[in-house]
C-alpha cells in the first residue's frame, strides 16, 4: 500500500513514463515507484525473456559494487532475451535523493523504487520467505518461473552461468 505522497509520485511518474513501463525501457533518469501490482505487471510483461530481478539500496555497499557487473551483462545480452529489473529498497520517501544518487553513479541503470510500506510486502510477490538481506537477486526463466535466488554480491561469471542455466 502506498502512502499519499507515493501515490502522487507514482501518478506523476507513470504519466511521464507509462509508454515505457512493462518493457524495461523507462527513462533511467527517473525512479519509478513500484508497488505489488506494478511488480506483477512488469514480471508478466517480461515473460519470454530471462529476467534478473536485483534488489539494491544506496546504503548497501556490496549492492553498489555489484551493479556495474549487472549493467555489463545487460549491455552484453540482447534485450529481446534478457531483462535486468532493478528495484531500489530505499525508503520511498527518499525517492528524490535516491534518484539523484542513481543518476550520479549509475546513469544508465533503469530502476524502480519500492513504494510499499515495507520492503517485505513488495518482495513477497516473488519470495514470501525473503529475509531482507541485500543484495538479493532472483532469476526468472522464460516461463516466468523463479529458478534461482542469489544473496550477496556475486561475480559476473556466476550470473552469466545462472542466466544460461535459466535458458538464456
Amino acid at each position: 500500500m502506498m502512502r499519499p505522497i507515493a501515490w502522487l509520485l507514482a501518478a506523476l511518474t507513470l504519466a511521464v513514463a507509462s509508454a515505457g513501463l512493462a518493457s524495461g525501457q523507462h527513462d533511467p533518469g527517473i525512479l519509478v515507484p513500484m508497488d505489488r501490482d506494478t511488480l506483477r505487471a512488469e514480471l508478466s510483461a517480461s515473460e519470454g525473456r530471462v529476467v534478473l530481478v536485483n534488489l539494491w539500496a544506496t546504503w548497501c555497499t556490496p549492492c553498489l559494487r555489484e551493479i556495474p557487473d549487472l549493467l555489463a551483462l545487460k549491455t552484453e545480452l540482447p534485450a529481446s532475451d534478457f531483462r535486468l529489473l532493478a528495484i531500489s529498497m530505499d525508503d520511498a520517501y527518499s525517492e528524490g535523493w535516491v534518484t539523484e544518487f542513481k543518476v550520479k553513479h549509475f546513469p544508465t541503470l533503469v530502476s524502480f523504487i519500492n513504494a510499499e510500506l515495507d520492503t517485505d510486502t513488495l518482495v513477497s510477490v516473488i519470495d514470501p520467505v525473503w529475509n531482507e538481506t541485500l543484495p538479493t537477486s532472483y532469476i526468472f526463466n522464460r516461463d516466468g518461473e523463479v529458478v534461482k535466488k542469489v544473496q550477496g554480491k556475486k561475480p559476473t561469471e556466476f550470473f552469466r552461468e545462472q542466466l544460461v542455466a535459466a535458458g538464456l
Binding site: R65, L117, P128, N131
Partner: protein, 465 residues
C-alpha cells in the same frame, strides 16, 4: 518457484484500511494463536494472560524501531524513530551533516511514558535537540534502559559532521533523564572522532560510522555502551567493536576502548545485557573465514574491566558478501545466558536459539525457535528469574506477524507459540522489557505506529519440544 498466488500475499491495502487500534484493543485470542499452539505437543500448557495494547506514537506519524524500559515504579518508557508525518516526503534534515550521502536517514527520536493507572502514553517529546539529527534506520535501533535509582538511559545513532574531515558521519549518542522521563539531558557523543574519510570506500557514503549501538545498565547504574565502528575499515568492509562505560549513572564516561578489531559485521546491531552484580555480556556478529557471519558472545565477569574471548553461539555457517542487517538478542536467567539470532543459511532462514552456562559460554547446539515459520527475524528476549520471553517477527503462510514463546525453566523447554492478532497490518521489530512485579512488556511497530502491551507468563504448563 512460481509467483505467489495473490490470495497468499499480504494485503497491504487492507493493512492501511485497518482501523488503528487506537488506545485499547483486545489480543491473544486469534485463530493463528490457536492454530500455532496446535502445532506443538502440549502438556498442560496454559495460554498467556490476554492483554490489551496501547499506542505510544501518533497515528499520523511514521514511527519505527521501538525500544522500551520499565522503571521501578512501573512506568513504561518507550522510544522510537519518528521519520516524519505520514505523507511527508524527504525528511528535512539536510542541514545536519556534511552533505548528501548514500547512508542518508534523517529522523527524530521520540519518547513517551505510560504511568501505572493511566489509560495510555503521555504526549511524546523529541530527545534530539534539533530536528533530523537521528540516523533513522530500523536496523540500527535506539536502546533505552532504567537503573535502580530511577534514572533512564538512552543511546541512539545520530547524524553529524566530522570536525576533522568536514564530511558526514553517523555517531552514537547518549542521553539520560534524572526525573523519570520529564526531561532528558543534552546528548553526548560516545565515540571519538576520526580523521579517516571512508566516503569513497562506500561510493559517496558516510566518512565514518559509529552506530549499531548497544547498552546494558546494572541496577546500581553502571552503564555499558558498545557500538560498531568503521575506524580502520578497509575494502573488506569490516567494523571494529568499541566499548565505553560509566560507573556513576551516566554523569561521566570513561575513555572508549577498542574491544574487537576490524572483524565484525558492520551492519549487524550489537546487543548487551548484565547479569548479577558484575557480569556483563555483549553479542555481535564476527566475520570469520570467507565472509561467514558468525554470532558470538563475550563475557566480562568484572563489570567491563576485562572481557573473555568471543564464544560462537553455533548454527550453520552463513556466508554472505552483503548486508545481513541482522541484530543479535540476549537475555540472562540465573547462571544461564541465552542467545537468539537469525541465520540466513538455515532452510528456511530463521531464528536460532541457544543457551550456555554463564561461567564458560559453552553453548548447547542451537535450535529453531519457530520451526514452522517460512522466515523469522528481529529477535528480542528478556528474563525474570527462570522465566524467559522470546519475541520476534515471522511469516508462516501470510503477512508478517509478531510471535512469542515463554520458557519457565531457563530455556530448557519452551511453551507453545503465541501470535499477536495483527491481521493484515504491516508489523515487525518487537522489543521487550520486564517489570519488578514479574511481568513482561512487549512493544512493536504496526503500520508505523508503536504499540505496547503487557504479557504475563502462564503459571504452569510445559510444552514438549
Amino acid at each position: 518457484m512460481k509467483l505467489v498466488p495473490a490470495a497468499l500475499l499480504p494485503a497491504a491495502n487492507a493493512a492501511m484500511q485497518t482501523k488503528h487500534w487506537g488506545t485499547v484493543k483486545r489480543s491473544c485470542s486469534c485463530f493463528a494463536t490457536v492454530a500455532a499452539a496446535a502445532m506443538f505437543s502440549i502438556v498442560g500448557a496454559a495460554a498467556p494472560h490476554a492483554a490489551e495494547s496501547v499506542s505510544a506514537s501518533a497515528v499520523d506519524r511514521r514511527a519505527q524501531a521501538p525500544a522500551i524500559a520499565v522503571t521501578e515504579d512501573g512506568t513504561v518508557h518507550a522510544i522510537w524513530f519518528d521519520k516524519g508525518a505520514v505523507g511527508e516526503a524527504d525528511r528535512k534534515g539536510a542541514h545536519v551533516g556534511g552533505g548528501r550521502h548514500s547512508h542518508q536517514a534523517f529522523a527524530d527520536l521520540r519518547y513517551a511514558r505510560w504511568v501505572p493507572g493511566e489509560a495510555g502514553f503521555s504526549e511524546s517529546t523529541r530527545i534530539n535537540p534539533e530536528p533530523g539529527q537521528v540516523w533513522g534506520f530500523s536496523i540500527s535501533r535506539p536502546v533505552i534502559a532504567a537503573d535502580g535509582e530511577g534514572r533512564i538511559h538512552i543511546v541512539y545513532p545520530g547524524n553529524g559532521t566530522s570536525p576533522k574531515t568536514g564530511k558526514s558521519v553517523a555517531s552514537s549518542f547518549y542521553s539520560r533523564s534524572m526525573d523519570g522521563g520529564q526531561h532528558f539531558e543534552e546528548p553526548i557523543q560516545l565515540n571519538g572522532d576520526s580523521d579517516e574519510d571512508l566516503s569513497a570506500l562506500i561510493m559517496g557514503g558516510l566518512a565514518q560510522a559509529q552506530v549499531f549501538t548497544a547498552m546494558a545498565v546494572s541496577e546500581k547504574g553502571v552503564i555499558h555502551t558498545f557500538w560498531l565502528d568503521t575506524r580502520g575499515m578497509t575494502e573488506s568492509m569490516r567494523a571494529a567493536l568499541y566499548y565505553r562505560r560509566s560507573d556513576d549513572g551516566g554523569a561521566r564516561f570513561e575513555e572508549e576502548v577498542r574491544l574487537q578489531e576490524n572483524d565484525q559485521c558492520p551492519c549487524c546491531q550489537v546487543s548487551a545485557v548484565t547479569g548479577g552484580q558484575s557480569s556483563l555480556f555483549v553479542s555481535a556478529r564476527q566475520i570469520t573465514g570467507d565472509n561467514i557471519r558468525t554470532p558470538t558472545v563475550m563475557h566480562s565477569s568484572d563489570n567491563g574491566i576485562t572481557f573473555g574471548a568471543p564464544a560462537e553461539t553455533g548454527g550453520t555457517p552463513w556466508r554472505l558478501e552483503g548486508c545481513p542487517l541482522k541484530l543479535t538478542a540476549m537475555a540472562v536467567t540465573p547462571d544461564t545466558i541465552h542467545s537468539l539470532v537469525h541465520n540466513g543459511a538455515e532452510d528456511p532462514p530463521g531464528l536460532l536459539y541457544a543457551r550456555a552456562a554463564q561461567r564458560d559460554l559453552s553453548f548447547l547446539p542451537p535450535q529453531k525457535i519457530h520451526p514452522e515459520a517460512a522466515v523469522s527475524d528481529s529477535p528480542a528476549m528478556a528474563g525474570i528469574g527462570a522465566t524467559l520471553l522470546a519475541a520476534w517477527h515471522a511469516k508462516v503462510d501470510g503477512p508478517r506477524r509478531i510471535f512469542y514463546r515463554f520458557s519457565l525453566d531457563g530455556g530448557e523447554n519452551f511453551l507453545p507459540l503465541q501470535a499477536l492478532p495483527t491481521g493484515e497490518a504491516s508489523v515487525g521489530y518487537p522489543a521487550v522489557a520486564t517489570t519488578l512485579e514479574g511481568r513482561f512488556v512487549l512493544a512493536w511497530q504496526e503500520n508505523e505506529v508503536i504499540q505496547v502491551m503487557y504479557l504475563d507468563p502462564p503459571r504452569q504448563g510445559v510444552a514438549l519440544r
